[in-house]
Amino acid sequence: MEEYLEKYRSVVGEAVIHHLLQLARPLQGIKVVHVNSTREGGGVAEILRSLVPLKQALGLEVNWEVISGNPEFYECTKKIHNSLQGNRISISQSMLKNYEGINKENYERLKDVLENADFVFIHDPQPAPLLYHCTNRKGRWIWRCHIDASRPYRPVWRYLKNFVSFYDASIWSLSSFAQVLPHPMYLIPPSIDPLSEKNIDLDQAEIESAYERWNIDPHRPIISQISRFDRFKDPLGVIETYRMVKEFLPVQLILAGSGATDDPEGVEVLEEVRVAQRDDPDIHILLLPPDAHRSINALQRISDIILQKSIREGFGLTVTEAMWKEKPVLGGDTGGVRIQVFNHHTGFLVNTPEGAALRIRFLLRHRNRLKEMGKKAKEFVRDNFLITRDLREHLTLMLAISHGATDRIEIG
């Protein structure tokens, strides 16, 4: 397992690994369980795929359990998710009953591992009621909310609160996302794994193959937005931006995202984007499969500038990924983009297509600044948004919770 940590040493440096080993020492052998609702796809599974083996490599005994449910369960949890993000959705009593029933069934299946764990991390609302059934618990339970719940639909939040209030602590990505609960509400921003398929260094040949594969001209500037086809990501605003820049510079635009066929709104937005494309051969609309991590990686690397022109955004890990590839980002002035994009340092915060077009023209005319900002962006991610920082904060949290609620905990 030491070998596993070794791979990260070359990315984050000796001091960071040494610090993690120090923090993990008092936690040797403790039993930790993470529970979420899927092993594949989505940001939570992506983080756990990296976080779990890293915790194991540091000597913690870690299990990753996944709950399962029927279609009605997933329909309900999707509604809860959207309600927490502010959509006014009512959920029927029978649906909530099914949600609770499925959690009870999963509890019976996972009973032993949950009862014996020293720390249980429950991710998002899907498995939140598990704690209610675990009357014989030995360890501390922490609810990790990955959702921006800053303005939830109150009736649904009140319902969920009945379950999550009883946890020993909760974790939120940003202070503005948190709802007040009667326990410590820790703040841990999410992170990316520099060694995952989506972020690992690619050789030049693989990067360059993207030009031919998608018929992109390597000799002209490329701007891109790689994100879901969703109104909140403002893809039409991105096309408007591109057209304003095109009047001055021969740019190409890549709009790439994975296609969610089960998302009617996504299909609608994609159609609107295609209409707005107006057969312009320099606008490349790419619908990628959900596991096209290396393709996304290559597309980000061939881009000169990356946009995430969101009107509303959670944390915005696509911004983090772009910055890790030394690209300055033009990000919508919202949510977690604000703690990643700093004007003239790592990119620019923009509010309109006009603002975005102006910044793109500036950066493409000042290549040295573009390069400099890209380098700064990568170093900023290295210091703040890699999985090793996430891991450090998880270890700190476990030490803090084990030693009570005081502001200062001295160990050893």
Binding site: H18, L23, P26, Y186, I188
Partner: protein, 216 residues
């Protein structure tokens, strides 16, 4: 062994308090009532947390005044507050209130922000660990400094100011106890301004000061 210096390491974790402010008047009321830990976090926590350097506005209150309230005058007055000048966090809290009260007196309508620009009060928990490293003398310290984690630098150079003998970093206090004529060296270390810099920069400056001292 007597007079050895035990190197510690630390990690900070942020905790949301649920207190927030949307207007300058609300900010004032909250500053009056939040736990001391919030004042500490918004002045010093930036050094150990995910935040881009903003040397112009070295504390979160000043940064919010500038970037969210768009009140340049208040931002400048808040930015100049040096937390080292205060005996304790209560003194710092009262200075903040004084500056905000002065500004409120000058304004007919207290400024406010959009809901997504509110100020969120955060406190932190600090976990301190013993690294097992024991420094015997000044040369030993010079050799160890480049390898110390940023957590160690924070603990011994920033956090130390909250512990007895207060307002002093641990390194210079320890060198004083050695009673070996380190007066100039001690003063050079104490001259490092910890507020307008980063932990990395502090480590480099310590390395340079101890290096020059060794060269005589």
């Amino acid at each position: 062994m007597e007079n050895t210096f035990n190197i510690k390491d630390c990690a900070l974790i942020a905790i949301a308090t649920g207190y927030k402010a949307q207007t300058l008047r609300e900010l004032r009321s909250r500053i009056e009532e939040v736990p001391e830990g919030c004042i500490y976090y918004h002045f010093w926590g930036g050094l150990l947390r995910s935040k881009f350097d903003d040397p112009e506005f070295p504390n979160d209150f000043a940064s919010w005044a500038r970037h969210s309230l768009y009140d340049k005058i208040l931002a400048e007055r808040l930015a100049i507050i040096n937390p080292i000048d205060f005996e304790n966090l209560e003194g710092l809290r009262w200075e903040l209130l004084e500056v905000i009260d002065e500004r409120l007196d000058e304004l007919d309508i207290p400024p406010w922000v959009e809901p997504d620009q509110q100020f969120y009060f955060v406190r932190s928990q600090i976990v301190v660990l013993d690294t097992g490293i024991q420094v015997k003398d000044c040369n030993d310290l010079r050799e160890w400094i480049p390898d110390l984690s940023l957590g160690s630098i924070f603990y011994h150079f920033i956090d130390a100011r909250r512990r007895p003998p207060y307002r002093r970093d641990d390194f210079s206090v320890w060198l004083e106890t050695l009673d070996a004529g380190y007066g100039t060296l001690i003063q050079s270390i104490r001259n490092i301004d910890p507020f307008f810099t980063s932990l990395r920069q502090i480590r480099i400056e310590l390395e340079e000061i101890l290096g020059s001292h060794a060269e005589g």
